[in-house]
């Protein structure tokens, strides 16, 4: 017979009893050999006894599982949860007997003992027998109580297959109550759909063939605990909602003659455990798969990375890092050579310090390499560095080292990833170069460039702007905003120009003329182009380009002057003709006077003298016009009410208009305020324009009924004054209009010098004003002369 090596967990009184019993009943019984006792209390009586018997003792029950040839563990702690723990942790080949079964077993053994004792020693003593039967009954009742209260499902049938015990746990397991089961043969019902014998029934029948068949069919094995008992694990699909996985133990109950009186069956519900095991297996599988996947990901990742374990040995070295470093994973994994690709001599790298949690050294060594905490996780750092040793021309790397921590937060290794920044650094350098180029462009542009951020603070103020406005960039940038370098009116005008479409589409200004105040608070005429800057449809600033119109105007004036000189040269013939005409008049006048003197005709003398005078006046006119036209002169400004000048001119022209049959219509704006102008020059202009208007009405005869010259004044916004002189005379065709401002062009025959309009235009330009006309043949002509506001003019 096989020897059973038993270990006992829980060294209380039950343990003592079992030990006693085992040593008492060794003969003829299954050879039980106690090989170990465990109890957290090393002073427990079972421990002390075991020590005395030279049996292995321990405070950790797990130690028992490593005892060689252990077959059976007896649990005597009485803690149902602990039973499961043992069940889960014990080696598969070791059987477990929990405290209830152990007690039962013990009681039966005691009973046997008693019977043997009675049989052998007190057979003749009835009283004793009675006492002994009494005792047996008492014990049986105790056993019944134990059976019924046991957390292990169990039932007992008698030799007629009738149920005699059906305990509470069995009720819970099967859902069949003790009341309905006891006394019946319905023990199959919880387990099968149809009536059939259970293992217990087979045992009770004691038919060796049948037993043999059942053993094979159910995969039974002999119970190590109970003589002639069998055990099996099997799944009962019929039991419970999802079926139940049961561990079954069935053993015969024999009387003292050895004949079978019944059978006891205990169950253990394994379903949860089986489920757990399956789940565990599945999750192990999953973990393995994940690990493989992670390995695959690491290996195949385009990001160069490697992993160090806590002993600084390389555990992963992926393909990308192979490519980056030229070191293969075969030669690297398992070594601590990870420094080799990066440094000429062996030294720890960032990951090594992280594994050693040596943050001080990290900060010290890597502070010049843009060291910063990585967003990759706690304790991770990243840095950038140029590795001259790596690659042909060295490599600029961004690297990130993050610790790998276990559940308890202990560092188990580190993962290091790299990003090759060489290309990016090249690009950044290129961008920087371009940036410098753009900066140079901005700074050295002749145009003034002024840029503001969203709140209006000036952030770019280039040398061109500095030159034009007389500030240094330092005085402006971040210090001043537009209102301080613009007159308020100009600021409003620029804003309107930006948001309106007067000077290009909204958001842009193309070639606007404006005035900025320079450092000396002088108005500087500028040509301005600009654009509002947007980011994601939000206005984030503006940039304007300004050109100093003083320069341009100076060039313009020089050009005009040159043109005038050329014109004078070109038109000497015209002048000669004109002077020849005057000479005609003078000679004529002299002749007439001479003739009249001879005839003593004094009326004719007067006529001749008038002729001479008129021609002298003509000479005076043309000389004045030519002087104005040919000479560079600056207007001599005064603040003058435009209406006053116009009235003076009308007064002078009144007689001439009357003689020509022309009437004036006077519509002057009484609200006009004084405007800065060269009064004499503007007076001349108005004389020219009004004289022209009268001539236009009379030259071709009266075209539209009575000749009417309308003179108006008003104030367009942004300007000081507008004079409008409109006639209803002959008008001009396109050819005449083109030649209008050409020197010495005239349609007035002997009367025109051809210089009136060129002179007028020159004066208006000198005032920064504008001279605009509209004319239609047969309808008349309208001239508008506008003068700027010159707000900054404060008189002389």
């Amino acid at each position: 017979m096989k020897t059973h090596n038993v270990a006992i967990i829980g060294a209380g009184p039950g343990c003592l009893a079992i030990m006693d019993m085992m040593y008492r009943v060794q003969s003829g019984q299954p050879k039980m050999h106690i090989v170990g006792v465990a109890d957290i209390n090393l002073q427990a009586p079972g421990i002390r006894k075991a020590k005395a018997l030279n049996i292995f003792t321990t405070s950790n029950y797990k130690d028992l599982f490593s005892i060689p040839d252990l077959n059976l563990v007896i649990e005597l702690t009485g803690d149902p949860d602990f039973i499961q723990t043992i069940q889960d942790e014990k080696p598969a080949h070791v059987h477990l007997m929990d405290h209830t079964v152990a007690k039962l077993f013990f009681d039966f053994s005691r009973l046997e003992d008693e019977k043997r004792h009675v049989r052998g020693e007190v057979k003749e003593d009835n009283h004793e027998l009675k006492a002994s039967e009494e005792e047996a009954r008492r014990q049986r009742r105790t056993a019944e109580g134990i059976i019924y209260g046991s957390p292990t499902p169990m039932f007992v049938i008698d030799k007629d297959h009738k149920i005699i015990y059906w305990n509470k746990a069995c009720e819970n397991l099967t859902g069949f109550s003790r009341e309905e089961m006891i006394g019946t043969q319905r023990q199959w019902e919880p387990f099968y759909r149809h009536s059939r014998p259970l293992l217990a029934d087979v045992i009770v029948d004691d038919d060796p063939d049948q037993i043999e068949k059942t053993v094979k069919k159910m995969g039974l094995h002999r119970s190590p605990v109970v003589e002639e008992g069998y055990e099996a694990e099997y799944f009962v699909p019929h039991l419970g909602e999802e079926g139940t996985h049961l561990y079954l133990n069935a053993a015969p109950i024999k009387d003292d003659k050895g004949s079978i009186q019944g059978a006891i069956i205990t169950y253990q519900d394994f379903s949860e455990r089986v489920k757990m095991t399956r789940h565990l297996k599945a999750s192990e599988e999953e973990t393995r798969r994940q690990k493989k996947t992670v390995e695959g990901i690491i290996y195949g990742s385009p990001i160069p990375m490697f992993v160090l374990d806590k002993d600084h040995k390389i555990t992963y070295w992926n393909r990308a890092v192979e490519r980056l470093t030229g070191f293969s994973s075969e030669e690297m994994i398992g070594t601590d050579r990870h420094w080799e690709p990066f440094y000429p001599n062996k030294r720890p790298i960032l990951a090594d310090f992280i594994i050693d949690n040596d943050l001080e050294t990290i900060k010290e060594l890597y502070k010049g390499m843009h060291l910063r905490k990585s967003p990759m996780g706690e304790g991770a750092y990243e840095a950038e560095h140029f590795f001259p040793h790596l690659g042909e021309k060295g490599t600029h790397l961004y690297f990130n080292a993050a610790p790998i921590k276990d559940d308890l937060g202990d560092i188990q290794g580190a993962v290091i990833t790299y990003q090759d920044f060489s290309e990016r650094v090249k690009m950044i350098r290129e961008i920087e170069k371009r940036e410098i180029f753009v900066q140079n462009l901005i700074q050295n542009s002749i145009d003034g460039i002024i840029a503001t951020e969203a709140k209006g603070k000036i952030v770019i103020f280039n040398r061109g702007a500095a030159k034009i406005l007389g500030y240094t960039p330092e005085e402006i940038i971040g210090q001043l905003s537009y209102p301080e370098i613009l007159s308020g009116q100009t600021g409003v005008a620029i804003r309107d120009a930006f948001y309106g479409d007067q000077y290009g589409p909204p958001g842009k200004i193309i070639n606007m003329e404006a005035q900025f105040l320079n450092k000396a608070n002088e108005a500087i005429p500028l040509r301005l182009s600009g654009t509002l800057l947007y980011e994601a449809q939000k206005e984030v600033g503006s940039v304007v380009f300004i050109q100093d119109l003083r320069e341009i105007q100076k060039l313009q004036r020089e050009k005009e002057s040159a043109e005038r000189m050329a014109a004078i040269g070109r038109t000497v013939a015209g002048v000669a003709h004109y002077i020849k005409n005057i000479l005609n008049g003078l000679q004529g006048g002299a002749y007439v006077i001479n003739s009249a003197m001879g005839k003593k005709d004094f009326e004719l003398v007067r006529k001749g003298w008038d002729m001479v005078e008129r021609n002298i006046e003509q000479i005076s006119h043309i000389v004045t016009d030519m002087l104005i036209y040919s000479r560079e002169r600056k207007p001599s400004y005064d603040l003058v009410n435009p209406n006053e000048v116009l009235d003076e001119v009308l007064e002078l022209m009144w007689e001439r208009a009357k003689l020509s049959g022309v009437v004036f219509v006077r519509e002057l704006d009484p609200e006009l305020t004084p405007v800065a102008m060269d009064k004499t020059a503007i007076h001349n202009c108005l004389l020219n324009l009004i004289g022209n208007a009268i001539d236009a009405c009379t030259l071709g005869g009266i075209v539209n009924g009575k000749g009417v010259v309308t003179v108006k004044t008003d104030k367009p916004s942004g300007w000081g004054v507008r004079f409008r002189i409109t006639d209803n005379g002959i008008g001009m065709d396109e050819d005449d209009q083109k030649k209008l401002f050409t020197d010495f062009f005239t349609t007035k025959g002997y009367k025109g010098t051809g210089l009136g309009l060129p002179v007028t235009q020159k004066i208006v330009k000198e005032h920064d004003g504008e001279l605009i006309f509209k004319s239609e043949v047969g309808q008349g002509t309208s001239f508008s002369l506008v003068l700027p506001e010159k707000r900054d003019f404060r008189g002389k």
């Binding site: 020849k580 004529g588 001749g608 008129r614 002997y750």
Partner: protein, 134 residues
């Protein structure tokens, strides 16, 4: 019977000067200030000769000359053009007038009988008038 000469010029000074010269030398004068008036006076006064200014506003001397030469009752009146500087109009008047006389009567129609440049020399003018009238 003194010959009557019509002076057409927009410049009153020229008119006064020319009429003084002509009256002093025994001619009768009439005058007109522009081409339109000149045409009317030519019709009403039946002048023996017309002194015609080339450059005038409204109907120019050339236009009046053309009208006169197309008018059967007026085309017999000889015309002397009084011109300013020839370069002024862009037309070489001297060449135009000198080469004017050809065999083609249609082209002759637009030719004056004589011309004189300003400033007018009284002696030259009187000789030209005498030549044209004879």
């Amino acid at each position: 019977m003194p010959e009557k000469i019509l002076i057409v010029d927009d410049d009153p000074d020229v008119v006064l000067f020319l009429s003084t010269v002509l009256k002093d030398n025994g001619y009768i004068t009439a005058d007109a200030a522009n081409g339109q008036e000149g045409l009317e006076r030519a019709r009403s006064d039946h002048p023996d000769l017309i002194l015609l200014d080339l450059m005038m506003p409204k109907k120019s001397g050339i236009a009046l000359l053309s009208d006169l030469k197309r008018d059967d009752t007026l085309k017999g009146i000889p015309v002397i053009m009084v011109t300013g500087v020839s370069g002024e109009t862009g037309i070489d008047l001297e060449a135009f007038f000198k080469k004017g006389k050809t065999g083609d009567p249609k082209r002759n129609a637009l030719k004056p009988e004589g011309y004189i440049e300003k400033p007018v020399d009284p002696q030259k003018l009187l000789k030209l008038i005498k030549d044209v009238l004879s």
